[in-house]
């Protein structure tokens, strides 16, 4: 049996192909059922986001599994199977585990370290579990992926620092004001960037979001979209002192806010901090405004350099994340290897059990009372368990260290065992014992 991932992502396939094979949440159950109905696929789970679609499966026949996935996606998307095949990647065993752990940590995301993917991996594992299409191996794999992503986020700074201008602006506002609830924001101009920033501010609970533009209708339009209140240009500029955060992105060719204007507003607000975000090009706010006491002025270049620095930092952190991933891949591999010895343990126990049963059958126990017979049987069972305890423990350890096969072969030879590939029931039996 092998662990295999068959998939495509933004690195290997254009958006038209990704759209074609993407699985909507409401269709996920049907897709899982489809793949699990393929005889060669023992376990399966599907991870589908806007940037990737991946099928994780446990199979004895990788080619059959690959053919089934291509056929399924081809049917779903209407794309030619050969053309689709050119965009696929296939990883198996430790490479597959390494791939999923990297995906869960955001190392393979368009924006490195983005946090949503960890939740999407967790959801994919949960969906397969609830549909019963994932079992021992995939359940363990997806649980491990969730743990790895948690470790990456707590032990490294892979997910810290905003990586978009609008997020960087909101993060800064939070670093200045703490909780944004109870604070007031004023949007000057109705550009796309100011809309994004205003939206993030609204999501972070600003008390009042006022939007103004020289064209009032545009202000009303933007205010409607971001849940703010449109006010006239003169009211907006005149009430500057009421705003804690000011986002400016007008198309004016000269400064909209100059130093004396902001200085007067600061005096009116008793020098309470004011954060001005100038995302216009050319700039809307006189840079001299930033010299005023308790005024924080960031323009587009400043924010872009913050974003750039954060992305650089994430790239550096990626090395630390890779080390964590390697540790967890090693743990997972050890666990997988230990599964290889499970059938041998089952066979060995079965061998001793049948030996014990036959000896008990030959012994003349009919003269014994029921209680005495039970005592003898228990004695034999305890004896068998004690004899087998050490070899079984050593076999498990050997399995984790990748030389289990040698011992399995030796056991098979010494005891004339017939060792088959593991299956769910055996794993439970061994765990239970």
């Amino acid at each position: 049996m092998s662990l295999v991932v068959i998939g495509l992502s933004y690195r290997t396939a254009p958006v038209e192909i990704r759209d074609g094979v993407a699985v909507l949440p409401q269709a996920l159950d049907a897709v899982l059922q489809y793949f699990s109905s393929v005889p060669e696929i023992v376990e399966c789970a599907v991870l589908s986001t806007c940037n990737r679609s991946e099928v994780y499966c446990i199979t004895a026949d990788i080619h059959a599994a690959l053919a089934a996935v291509i056929a399924g996606w081809s049917e779903q998307s209407g794309l030619d199977a050969d053309a689709l095949g050119q965009h696929l990647f296939v990883y198996r065993d430790t490479e597959a585990a390494r791939h999923l752990f990297g995906v869960a940590c955001g190392l393979d995301s368009m924006v490195m370290g983005e946090p949503q993917i960890a939740g999407q991996v967790k959801d994919a594992g949960a969906a397969a579990l609830s549909m019963g299409t994932s079992k021992t191996v995939l359940n363990r794999l997806f649980r491990a992926a969730t743990e790895v992503s948690k470790r990456a986020r707590t032990e490294t700074e892979i997910a810290t620092g905003a990586v978009s201008v609008s997020f960087a602006a909101v993060e800064l506002a939070k670093k200045i004001f703490g909780n944004l609830e109870g604070h007031t924001a004023l949007v000057l101009g109705a550009g796309e960037m100011s809309e994004l920033t205003a939206r993030h501010l609204a999501d972070n609970g600003v008390k009042s979001l006022q939007v103004t533009s020289r064209t009032f209708a545009r202000a009303q339009d933007l205010a409607g979209r971001v849940g703010g209140r449109a006010i006239s240009w003169d009211d907006g500029i005149g009430n500057l002192h009421n705003a804690d955060v000011v986002i400016s992105s007008t198309s004016a060719e000269t400064y909209v806010l100059e130093r004396p204007h902001v200085a007067a507003a600061m005096q009116k607000r008793n020098n309470r901090s004011m954060f001005l975000i100038d995302i216009a090009m050319p700039r809307d706010i006189d840079p001299a405004v930033g010299e005023l006491y308790n005024v924080f002025l960031y323009d587009l270049d400043d924010l872009e350099s913050v974003v750039g620095a954060n992305l650089e930092k994430r790239k550096i952190e990626a090395d630390k994340v890779s080390t964590i991933i390697e540790e967890e891949v090693e743990n997972f591999s050890a666990w997988i290897n230990s599964l290889a010895v499970v059938p041998a343990i089952v066979a060995l126990r079965g061998h001793f059990q049948s030996f014990m049963d036959s000896e008990l059958a030959q012994a003349k126990l009919s003269e014994f009372s029921e209680d005495q017979r039970a005592q003898v049987t228990n004695l034999m069972r305890r004896f068998m368990n004690k004899v087998l305890h050490k070899p079984v423990t050593r076999l498990r350890e050997a399995g984790e260290e990748e030389d289990g096969g040698t011992y399995v072969a030796a056991l098979s030879y010494l005891f004339d065992l017939v060792v088959e590939e593991y299956h769910e029931k055996e794993i439970k039996e061994v765990r239970g014992s």
């Binding site: 707590t154 032990e155 700074e157 670093k175 703490g178 008793n270 960031y298 400043d302 620095a309």
Partner: protein, 274 residues
Amino acid sequence: MILDILLIATGGAYIASALGYALHFHQPRAYWRVLSTWGIWGAWCMHTVLLAVITISAGEVPLTSQVLPSLCAWLVVVVYIYLEVSTRDRSLGVLIVPIVVVLHVLTLTKLLGTGDIQVTGYSGGWFELHVLAYGLAYTAFAISCVGGVMYLMLLSEIQAKHLGFFYSRLPSLEVLNQINNRAATFGFVFLTGGTIASSVWAFQHLSQFSIWREPVFLPVLIAWVIYAGNVVARWCGGWQGKRAAFLSIMGFVLVILAFPVMGILFSGPHNLGP
């Protein structure tokens, strides 16, 4: 013997905790978090037992320069634990816990191996009120100073538009300003109350006492003026943030000069002994 063990164990736990806070500040990891927080709680519990043992041995709370630094350290830890629990932020610990270590070591060097716990020889409600109020005031000023230092560290990164080490570790400017603000205001109230109590007690009990000749008088007066100005400037003049942070740091430096240094270096009622 038990006193020495408690002194060393408490000091050791505070040092371990300070190390934990420093390491957690540098690299936030679960194990450093555990070391710092468990360390401070463990140290504080031992410290409480230590102060109880000292009080029982002396027959009263010994408000002497031998034990007062430790008492102040205990109060600082109480306030710090409250701040950590209420804000879930550990960054203040990186500066506050080392102050606690220094205060505890001051007591440790005077008590270790001697077993001789001195009492003041002074008595009266006004005296005790004075010492208690000053203890609380110093605690508040220390925390205000730490808030101020951290405010300036974070502010320098935000103003330089180079968001780095402190930006990702410290709480917001607003939170630091509030800590600084509230602690300075509380400290000022206690400093004023303590000064009034000490004046009343001195005129009642020390016939030869001249407040003008008292070495700590001038630094206390200057510290009081700075904190009074600080509080008025904050509430009435809009001195938020940077200026207020500077005032808190200056005030604390003067407070340090006023009591722990001047009181120890010069003879007089503040060299509190038998």
